[in-house]
Amino acid sequence: MKRVLVFFFVASLAILQGCIVKSLHPFYTPNDLVFKKELINHWTDQDGNHWQIVPVKESNVSYELRHYKHSEQPEEIFIAHLFHLNNQLYLDLFPVANDSQANDMMFNMHLIPAHSIARVVKISGNEVQIRWLNEKWLRSLFTENKIKISHEVVRDVNVKDDSDLNYVLTASTEELQKFIIKYGDEDDAFIDDNTVWLKLNR
């Protein structure tokens, strides 16, 4: 049976890095987690990238997302958690190193992995639709001093202007959840432009 997975990620990891809201702390607590078996499968996103979702062996609430491009080995791996906040389903992603990256100790020691959050819009038999939290919207709120949530501004070495600044949320999970619950329904928070479609491979 051929199923189409519509998994939405920003087209590639590079693009994804630039457009997602990064947080040092997870957006969920253990009490919020849910597990849906229908996610366990092979999926293809709207840009033709292949994704495999498998359960994490040591856990009954965690998923492992494997991103394949050209080789048999996954190029990126994420630990994903589905969780409920105020009756709305969300997905938290957290990167882990693949086998080749894991060997690059010096490189890994310089990285601080971050969590990202997406609202799950749809989970049906052969289709999943998610929307990333709008990084541009959040960036503009920070720039305009309109939002108060713990964060740090990280400047790259070759920063050209403010658009190159990276905002990293440092708020606690409790604060992150309060913010998502209160302002998650804002028009600009989770917009269509940030939607990723995953279709089930058939």
Binding site: I147, K148, S150, H151, E152, V153, E175, F179
Partner: protein, 365 residues
Amino acid sequence: MVEVESLNQTESGRGHRFKLSLPVSLFKSVYVQLAFWTSTYFVLLTIFSTSSVWYHIDYLYTGIFMSTMMIAVWMNAYLLIPRMLQQRRYLIYLISVCITIIATVYFNHLLFDKLIDYILPGYYFIAYYSLLDLLKFFGVLVALATLIQLTMEWFALQENTQSAILLQKEKVTAELQALTNQVNPHFLFNSLSVLYSLALRESREAPVAIMQLSDMLKYVIYEASKRFVPLGAEVEMIRNYIGLQRYRVHVSTKIEFLENDIDPSFPVMPMVFLPLIENSFKHGTHSNTNDAFVSIRMKTTSDDMEFSITNNRMLEESPSTGGVGLRNIRMRLDLVYKEKYELNIVEEETNFSVHVKLPRLYEEN
């Protein structure tokens, strides 16, 4: 001869009570308020800052947050403390302050959870702190403000009390001086009368009498204004007075002054016994009988001293216990020794006695 009883009566206020005004709450002063809230603001700003840099949004949030704390602190300062704590209604105060804190904590939470979106649309705030955390914030600040307020009021009260004590002391000193000053002219006039008699008789004893009066005046000028003098100096003064009086009284008059058993350093109020001695010489030695006498005895212990004086009295003489001179002594003793002294007057058919017992007091008393 000037009579001792003709001393002017001073109706200075004995037992005057100071009415302390309530301490003015210095906490209400603008400067203290400004300092307190400025400090609080920056402490809160440091705590609330969401990153290593203070942003405009942090200033705004801290200001709004602190304004809800002001409600609790001001209610406590201007309503609960004056009306309950200072009225010693401790339990009601405790309950009220708890209710105030809880109410303002809920208001703070509601403000940042809901109301802020209507007050400041376009800004994104959440209720960052749990109710328990807010209770800690508000409780600590209200407790701190209460401590500051009570401490400052305590200092103000201490200052007022010190001023009142000083004022009272000055008043007592002034009253005492006024009463002592009443005594001086009388013994002076009595003594001058003696000198006048000696001068009329061209007595060779006049120079000695003048020297005795001179010593007495010296004592009055330099010692009588003090609160306490050594008993030895007072005894010397009495000796001089008796010496002068001997020129005046009949040779048959028996004058006895026993003061061997005293501690000369014993502190005693100056000029306290002189009116009694003047009184005795006036009433006892005026009689025409041959058994006129004045007997004075003094003795001291480590804790107190006793003075007693007895003189004969004429049968037709009216009782003198209510005399102005005795009243003057009572008032002076009241001012200095308060209720710690004894003054007993015994009027018998032929004798009149006064017994005084004074405790050992020091300057600070």
